[in-house]
């Protein structure tokens, strides 16, 4: 990583206050809610709720940063003398660093805090729910997406790596869509995505393609294929930003 790329990475990670704030508020709110439920349930209370683990809300940071960086930081970085090429490499480095940090944080949260809530007898986990769906009737069940997607089935390391690769793809897709929104081809892309979803979901053979794609990048039984698919797609999608930022007016 050269000097300018590293400088831009640091600036991006430092200057995403809104994503930090929103993610922090949502995460703390959900964590408090689940902690309160854990106490209530441990004390013999009752609930009938299935909720995402608070840790999954950390993903918001990556998504919001991927919106904020091309929208606000590009101009500010060039106003400090940064170059377009540096922004291109610095931004992907920022997304990779943030994805890595969030993946690590959610993985640790899942194994430590979700585990604590479940082991203390307060809340029920995804595994117990799958074995006995009737638990839903009078329990508070927390599900972390890394469990739902099957990434925890191969242990903590793969849970981290598979989530990391998926978050890179997610952030790159959001970043690219945001970067092109002020151009006609951005609107066309939005329309094409909407048309694909609108057409593919109701028609069974086409829907199968969507399911195949989602399985490829999330539920894939082969971790290496899932990781490789996410990374290859990320590189391909991010490359589209090169001509976009090369022409972007400052």
């Amino acid at each position: 990583m050269n000097k300018q790329t590293w400088a831009i990475t640091k600036l991006n990670i430092r200057n995403i206050n809104m994503p930090y704030f929103v993610t922090g508020i949502v995460f703390v709110t959900m964590f408090m809610q689940q902690a309160v439920y854990a106490i209530i349930m441990a004390a013999g209370g009752s609930a009938a709720q299935l909720s995402p683990s608070a840790g999954i809300y950390l993903w918001l940071l990556v998504i919001l940063a991927a919106i904020r960086i091309p929208l606000k930081n590009f101009r500010r970085i060039t106003n400090l003398g940064g170059k377009r090429g540096g922004f291109f490499t610095g931004s992907i480095a920022s997304l990779v660093v943030l994805s890595g940090l969030v993946s690590a944080a959610n993985t640790v949260f899942h194994y430590a805090i979700d585990g604590l809530f479940i082991n203390s007898g307060g809340l029920k986990g995804y595994e117990a729910f799958i074995q006995d769906p009737s638990l839903m009737d009078n329990n508070y069940i927390i599900v972390n997406l890394i469990e739902l997607f099957g990434w925890t089935s191969r242990g903590i390391f793969f849970a981290f790596i598979q989530q990391f690769a998926f978050l890179i793809l997610l952030s790159v897709a959001v970043y690219t869509l945001t970067a092109i929104q002020d151009k006609w081809y951005g609107w066309v892309t939005d329309a094409v995505i909407a048309a694909i979803l609108g057409t593919f979901i109701p028609i069974a053979p086409l829907r199968a393609w969507l399911v195949w794609f989602l399985e490829l990048i999330t539920f894939n039984s082969n971790a290496l294929i899932q990781i490789a698919a996410c990374l290859v797609l990320s590189v391909g999608i991010y490359a589209l930003n090169k001509p976009v930022f090369a022409r972007k007016a400052i």
Binding site: Q4, K10, N15, L80, G81, A246, R247, A249, I250
Partner: protein, 281 residues
Amino acid sequence: MMIEFKNVSKKYGDTNAIDGISLQIPESGIYCLLGRNGAGKTTLMKLLAGHIAATDGDIKIGGKRVSPAQMPDGVNYIESGSAQFNMKLSALIDAAAELQNDFDRDFAREMAKRFELDTNKKYKQLSFGMKTMLTAIITLANNSEIILLDEPVLGFDAIMREQFNTLLLESYHAHPRVIIVSTHLIDEIAKVTEQLIIINKGKILLQTGILDIDERAYTLSGHTSAVTPLLDGLNCIGKTTAGSVMAAHIYGDRITPPDGVSIEPMSLQDFFIKIVGGESK
């Protein structure tokens, strides 16, 4: 480093911000870019920095084409009043030093100190003038071969402007290069600039040395009947009449006026007003 604009145009919708400009800047120096609001000064600088694309024509620096896809490395331009991260000034200067090659961090800190900028303050805590100053510091502290300063003294008081002009000269003498300064404060910049480029309605009206204007821009005043015959063959860029008295503003070779007609040098400001068409009666 040779800068060359060849038949360059830039359109925003139907508006010609730059209209077929051809311009050459062959050597180092402090160049003043003068023009009214909306004349095309900022657009010209943005084109040269590769921040925006020309609609037509070629821009070259040292023979290499300039465009947003080929932003020149040797040009440093930051738009006046541009958005900055809300960080401490010391952190912004450090960030600029990491982002830019050839950034003189010590010079930037020295300038900040001399202009009494509190580097512990965050950007949003600064006054308008101080924000402009920070932009000027970050631009000028770079030792690039071409520095573009867009309205660098906007919001400055008279003392700050004087200090800035001194620093501009110090910076130039420490690192001779092309420095292009756009401003409205014409007579003040004349103390430090060597060359003048006047732009109006997207076209270059004049590119010349300040000394040339001192020598060739003058006003003939006297009775209308005495002044009018003298104007044949002279490049009269404006006339002011008050009753029977006329003041004719000339840009060209000096003449020796007859008795009853006085000749006075024209201020740069008057010259600018006359040449861009601000004639008064």
